[in-house]
């Protein structure tokens, strides 16, 4: 194996390991917000690692451009999507784990001053 193949293999393995960790977190963590915290790791970092691994492995310019497009799309959309789900889940109410220590929006929500 050449140096490039070794580097690509390590990157792909790291990205896949993040996917496994996120799956464990998705099952283990107590509420939606914790699960979201676990699930958004492979959505950005894991996918970037796999894409860079594939880019190092192929090295073909059009392929690398497509992989860069995937990474750019994911970086633009993953935080927005997670934010929308988190906001909707918080406004729906009753989804915070009983072990939650700090809810900074609670006063605002009970005062009825939440703008949608």
């Amino acid at each position: 194996m050449s140096v490039g193949e070794v580097v690509a293999s390590v990157l792909v393995l790291l990205g896949a390991a993040l996917s496994l960790l996120a799956g464990i977190g998705l099952v283990h963590l107590p509420d939606v917000f914790g699960r979201m915290h676990a699930a958004t790791k492979p959505a950005t970092l894991g996918l970037v690692l796999i894409c860079v691994g594939a880019a190092v492995s192929t090295g073909d310019v059009p392929d690398v451009a497509k992989l860069a497009l995937v990474v750019a799309l994911q970086f633009l959309t993953a935080p927005v999507g997670a934010h929308m789900v988190g906001r909707a889940a918080y406004h729906a109410g009753g989804l915070l784990s009983p072990g939650t220590v700090l809810d900074e929006l609670a006063a605002e929500r009970e005062g009825g001053g939440v703008e949608r």
Partner: protein
């Protein structure tokens, strides 16, 4: 190369199994949305591993499509939850 592909695919598959568990068990709609979004992300990652293994460009198009689809689905159901409640 083969060992790396098998290992990576195994880890992605276990991750997908675990998020399928969360998708089935729930309990809230928001949990299911998070699990579905993660399944699509893992699909994108799996296509990336296949692209790494075979060097074929077809998988890259699949990756672009799943990346866009994931965002569309998630934001749509998030709007639905805002209107209806989880």
């Amino acid at each position: 190369m083969t060992v790396v592909t098998v290992l990576a695919m195994a880890m992605i598959s276990v991750g997908a199994l675990l998020s399928t568990y969360r998708l089935v068990v729930g309990p809230s709609l928001a949990d299911r949305v998070v699990a579905t979004d993660m399944l699509l992300t893992l699909l994108t990652g799996g296509a990336g591993v296949l692209a790494f293994r075979t060097g074929e460009g077809v998988y890259l198009v699949v990756m672009v499509v799943t990346a866009v689809l994931g965002f569309l689905g998630t934001s749509m159901v998030a709007r639905f939850i805002e209107g209806r409640g989880a």
